[in-house]
Symmetry: D2
Amino acid sequence: MVTKLALLGAGRIGRVHARAIAQDKRAKLVCVVDAVADAAKSIADSTGCAVSTIDAVEADGNIDAVIICTPTNTHADLIERFSMAGKAIFCEKPIDLDVARARACAETVSKTGAKVMLGFNRRFDPHFRAVRKAIDDGRIGDVEMVTIISRDPGPPPADYIKVSGGIFRDMTIHDFDMARFLLREEIASVMASGSVLVDPKIRALGDYDSASVILTTASGRQCVISNSRRASYGYDQRIEVHGSLGSIAAENQRPVSIELATKEGFTRPPLHDFFMTRYTAAYAAEISVFIDSLETGSAPSPSVEDGLAALALADAALRSVREQKIIPV
Amino acid sequence: MVTKLALLGAGRIGRVHARAIAQDKRAKLVCVVDAVADAAKSIADSTGCAVSTIDAVEADGNIDAVIICTPTNTHADLIERFSMAGKAIFCEKPIDLDVARARACAETVSKTGAKVMLGFNRRFDPHFRAVRKAIDDGRIGDVEMVTIISRDPGPPPADYIKVSGGIFRDMTIHDFDMARFLLREEIASVMASGSVLVDPKIRALGDYDSASVILTTASGRQCVISNSRRASYGYDQRIEVHGSLGSIAAENQRPVSIELATKEGFTRPPLHDFFMTRYTAAYAAEISVFIDSLETGSAPSPSVEDGLAALALADAALRSVREQKIIPV
Amino acid sequence: MVTKLALLGAGRIGRVHARAIAQDKRAKLVCVVDAVADAAKSIADSTGCAVSTIDAVEADGNIDAVIICTPTNTHADLIERFSMAGKAIFCEKPIDLDVARARACAETVSKTGAKVMLGFNRRFDPHFRAVRKAIDDGRIGDVEMVTIISRDPGPPPADYIKVSGGIFRDMTIHDFDMARFLLREEIASVMASGSVLVDPKIRALGDYDSASVILTTASGRQCVISNSRRASYGYDQRIEVHGSLGSIAAENQRPVSIELATKEGFTRPPLHDFFMTRYTAAYAAEISVFIDSLETGSAPSPSVEDGLAALALADAALRSVREQKIIPV
Amino acid sequence: MVTKLALLGAGRIGRVHARAIAQDKRAKLVCVVDAVADAAKSIADSTGCAVSTIDAVEADGNIDAVIICTPTNTHADLIERFSMAGKAIFCEKPIDLDVARARACAETVSKTGAKVMLGFNRRFDPHFRAVRKAIDDGRIGDVEMVTIISRDPGPPPADYIKVSGGIFRDMTIHDFDMARFLLREEIASVMASGSVLVDPKIRALGDYDSASVILTTASGRQCVISNSRRASYGYDQRIEVHGSLGSIAAENQRPVSIELATKEGFTRPPLHDFFMTRYTAAYAAEISVFIDSLETGSAPSPSVEDGLAALALADAALRSVREQKIIPV
């Protein structure tokens, strides 16, 4: 039986998911919805699906699930609405920038019993999955310390920053999720340093562009996160987990693996230019896992609770910087 | 305008090309032909194309080009037949195991003026293309010496070896083509060493499983090729070009880039298991380049002449081993 | 003119310095002092120097400088005594485990005008020096974030831990010095997480075996330090500095650079087993730099003030863990 | 008991050995001999040994062994003379450029029963030794194919080339010795390509600057050697041995292991500038092994026979290029 999907939001990430759906024979994209008619039409044309509306999707008993790729401030409303409509839901992170609103949404989901999966794409990156598998296989013994280095090639435009919720809710949130994914124990305290070293405009917006965070679990496991909004050499995405028997690390990725040797030295090319090229395989895999969970009836993961937990860590990090305190969670 | 294609041969490599065609909007797979009905049907079902016959494809004025993935001993016949039928042709290497037969086929192609591209997939690997681009951009100055290390994970079955034409025509032929692609000067002499170190059954078949070759051009440029039918660590595919200003190398590829550190040391996973996973991107790119050449009217490359040249080098290498002589080409 | 040196302390590190002196033609080891007669005699025999006493060295107008490698609790006393005796001094870190005692010692040094160099050996490691040089040469632009990963192969014996002053004063102190060396701006705040994940005996001693620290400067530069008393794969010593134009990293070091490829993957050997083998070149270089500073009359570096600053950061880190606060410095 | 040594030849390599002897407590450099008085005096001054003459060394019953670092054309004479004088001998490679003369010398050595070790320094490089040890430990199973890439940073001066015996006897000879060291089976045939791609002056001298060689043993094991007299990126010295269970490779070496990441990519520094810095540890180790063999009475290795075998391969390679034939050995 083929799962019938509606795509809400036909922007950049919507197109990525449309392509992933097209390659999975177990799913069929029935229709696409977007306030911008041309965006919706473009996806409809290339995939052969219909253009529709939110209301029509909600009313269509034939549609099994929705893929929510609309702006962040619509996520909680749409999750609630389609939970109540009995649809399964895949929603891009975050649930909402406001933790109270996100929590309310989670309660609605819980009441309706809807299946909701959050789009933390990095969990599905093959390299990071291999790291997690090595841990699960006992290759490094007990997990003790996680190191995450995550740097964007360059800062986003000011308009984006204004609605982003700040570096911790927008960028570090992925690292908070990875920390939980790899530590497998809840975080007990958060301490963070934030500053503006890249672009003074970011300071004017009340945000930071450089941040370091230490997460500590109740049993004393530690995770260190290092973030910057600028990396001249490409999208820097490294993870290393240190355990009682050894360490496992995922290396940075580049489009081509060549090395030039000259009198200047030995040079390999810069890394991927950003997440769309770096996480191509992850985006395809996460939709496939969503379909899996619908087919098998297993609980979708990462869940709404995972989304809430990452958001709470982001809020704690922000408080730590602003109040210059270590924040218990 | 969409290019209409017929696929001849629905085996493993046929399926690879069918998938590549499905992803290129400029082309449409119209039908598939195979002596094994189930194989043809399977591709027809997954791509929505028809099942057809050689005769029907030949007669169908609507079909622009054929993709030949049938057994090697049918290549020359099919190339000639469809050249005369006015179709463009993409054919898997080699043209034929017999150089005289291949040369006759090339003459037919030349007379008919048909567009024929040979499937030397490695030329389209993004890493090797980046090597070639670095050379073309002058990054290493004048090319002086090429080193190719090419090792299969394990020997093919005896039945395959019997019809393969031997290691030089079956395996090294790719390296001969890469040597010409990177040296950009014709080979003037060939010397080779061949032996059986992996499997005595290969000796019984009159073939070799381990080979080393030196190619020298008229101006004295050299290429060294090292081949083995066995590599415990995966599909070993390395290329390095040394020039007056430096060297450029393409590194081996693996499915995931992680590193485990334990008391045994630092371990990265084995390489890709074989060509289907190692050269996925190359197979997709070569069909795309074939469509390009049809759309733009440019000469297909690699050409039938490239196929002939690689085959002649394979024959020379075999003679070098058998006669213990350096063979001028 | 040859600089005449007395070696105080003939233990493991004393022997390292004796060897370094023997290889520098500008210096001559005149005598060695140790409470353990055999230890002193062993160095005397192998270098051809005399065995002496503290008093005799102090009284000997012929001796230009002393190399202090005695136990930590004697450092401050010996520095003061030989400062007043008009000798130049090279002293192993730390000055003292107590910051007030160390400060008093620094004042004595300042009053006497004695030349005192502290033995932060890592500053002289050729790889770390090359990192610093790249920064000084402007290769990475403005320094923004420093990442230091520093892990011992295994925990020291309980007897050592008891007198070590704890992980921050014993182990992290090197990283604090490197942070200052690379950031080139004083630290404004310290936050740290410490826990016992390796050995419960360490908890019983009131110490930690796993620690993460964030240092922030007044201008917002950040340094993240990750420490563990256990690394199955050897002595893990990595440094990376991220700047406005790029990053520069010093890789881990191993005794031999080979790679074994098998069906298990590609394996390089473990790292150096500890500091004696990892920092061989650094130990030789620091004595050479000490002689340089005596010959040229330049101020010794790292100085007593550098020692004090690193110790103050260690104290702040310990307070941060114990009081669960971010500590301004 | 301390072994008493005389150093014959106080040039660059003589100084290297003098330093190695100074660091080995089991040996004592008694005197140095050189036609250039200043050169001898310089070593005598720095090591505290005497300046002497060949005749005096020969007559001095107190001297156990000689280290021969004089010009190549004196090697055979000195080996014979000191063999007959009952001294042990360490001699820099080669015995002689003429294989007949070298063979005659070997016979004299054999008759006198003198202990003679040849200075093939690469056998003592810790990385290459680790490769050999991995083979001996069975880590790669049966050895099948050896790949040696060996490139000098730049061509030697014309005056050196004139007396060098040509690229095969001067440069490739080290690779021939390594091939024998790693294959552990005698070579049965040699085929080679030689050309002038670097400097036309080398052609005028009848020599080559770029060479590729294939060595084959009786059982079919193969070794490929790639040589160039120019490598912009430093002294390129790589070895890889492929076997039935896997491969083992020794990586290139550089003075510092740092990596700079910028928008141009990820760059590590060039390699060592030449053999004096690349093989520092090897030079020290080979003298130590020579002393070992004198102390234990074991047969020195590499032996005069190893020197003869490498020279014979060099002659065969030259014949292969000149006569365009595969040469049986």
